[in-house]
Symmetry: C2
Subunit: 288 residues, 2 copies
């Protein structure tokens, strides 16, 4: 159990209590679980089946999208809109609805579409919500392995077929880079040369680096098996749902500038806040 | 169904029929399944549990091994030795037994220990066998997802909890590099600069590259979702079990020199034999 979990129960100090009651937050997490059940059912028939892959990149790159992404986002949006018609919605495939609402649901139906289309299970459905741009819940569902990582007002949990009773997620202590496991989804996603130099400098100081993972890597960080995830170029829908999961498991997640991660960009997540500081120092002074 | 599968039934022409009967091969595959059931039970209690990781590298690198690797190899070796006492055994953790026997079992209890220790499901148990250095069966078991890829004398199959009735594996047609998905476990594993240049030249010509996967990537290639896997520095126990799975699914797997893959080294697997040829040309003439 982490400190966050012991403190659970009351609204967190940085959330305007007037805007969202504790009961609302519990009910919203329930809605997220229901939406994830629906999206799981919408996605699975398309997984590991020959599927038409469209390229939605505007340039020469490859940014795949499939009917599974669109079907899943649609069922999630429909379910949320039915239960919380006054809330806003941001989704990777269908954009913004009611963007001035205080409460926003933020959805990536398949985070890791490239993994999805090669048959790997390292992708997931992300459903998060913010109130005044502060994350209030997050859910990561892996339909094929039937794993679900989630966090609301009362701690972060993992539910699996192997352990249907949700068990608390807790990051592991790892304060020093030389003992750390670092992941990023793919070094090619780090497009700025200066950022890549910073990343490789950090990578040279850790015990083990692995590539791949997308959202799943943040789940494994929350579960205490990865110490650092470092990425660039993320969108809000790539990260919003993961912030409460990482934070309520005891980790720290920010931009490379130390700002809130909610708007995406260059992101660093650490299981141990002391490791976050050590890694931030290297990113700031890669040749130091 | 692939050509190989249509031809199934008789001993393959390059296997001395006198050395191993068709009945022996069927019985050996049964032994492999039983051993994989035992190793699955031996490994799972150690997965996603904080575990002591030893570094067995002789140099400054990190080559992890755990009690799970050793426990799994022991139960596999014991089971095989009980059923086939005259056969030889080669395992990653415990070395060679009866190395002059005509029939050799080749075992990697956890291929992808680095993935295993970070909680990713992209690792597997490999159990293969050769007769006079020709692969005669192969099995890849993923204990967490309960997926099993295997091939004996009668085709390659995949068994999953989602589809308990084994279904035939078949690679997909993809003759041109520009439409291909390429994977390798980690570019850092490609230690020779010249090899890395060849790899990156190949990577620059494909539609999509992903890193990670270890043995699991060959399973996804056999299932028709990855087109090329290119690696270096493999040992015989990293690849022996995968050769029949790839070949009987319709793919082609050799060294970068075009030699049999059974001894490991620099390995290239392609789902489409025409793609194998195209990729071999780039590896041979990376700047051509």
């Amino acid at each position: 159990m982490t400190d966050q979990r012991h403190n659970g129960g009351g609204a967190r100090p940085n959330i305007p209590a007037s805007a969202l009651s504790e009961m609302d937050r519990i009910a919203m997490l329930q809605t997220a679980h229901q939406a994830a059940d629906l999206s799981r059912a919408a996605i699975l028939p398309h997984f590991r089946i020959p599927i038409t892959v469209e390229n939605k990149a505007q340039d020469a790159s490859f940014d795949p999208v499939t009917v599974a992404d669109r079907a899943a986002e649609q069922v999630i949006r429909d379910h949320i809109a039915r239960h919380w018609p006054e809330h806003g919605l941001i989704g990777e495939e269908f954009g913004l609805t009611r963007e001035t609402a205080h409460v926003q649901w933020i959805i990536d139906p398949i985070d890791g579409t490239r993994s999805f289309i090669i048959g790997s299970p390292l992708w997931g459905t992300l459903i998060g919500a913010t109130c005044e741009a502060v994350p209030v819940l997050g859910l990561l569902d892996q339909p094929f392995t039937k794993e679900r990582f989630y966090a609301g007002a009362q701690g972060a949990y993992l539910q699996t077929p192997q352990s249907p009773q949700p068990r608390p997620l807790a990051t592991r202590a790892c304060a020093s880079l030389e003992n750390a496991v670092l992941t990023t989804t793919h070094p090619d996603h780090i497009q700025e040369t200066a950022d890549l130099e910073r990343f490789y400098s950090l990578k040279s100081r850790v015990q083990l680096s692995r590539y791949g993972g997308d959202c799943y890597a943040y789940g494994l960080l929350a579960a205490g098996f990865i110490d650092l995830v470092v990425e660039t170029g993320l969108n809000t829908y790539d990260i919003a749902a993961l912030i409460p999961i990482v934070e309520q498991a005891g980790g720290k997640i920010t931009t490379w500038e130390g700002e809130p991660a909610i708007h995406g960009g260059r992101i660093i997540a650490a299981g141990d806040p002391a490791l976050h500081e050590a890694a931030m120092n290297v990113l700031a002074n890669p040749f130091g």
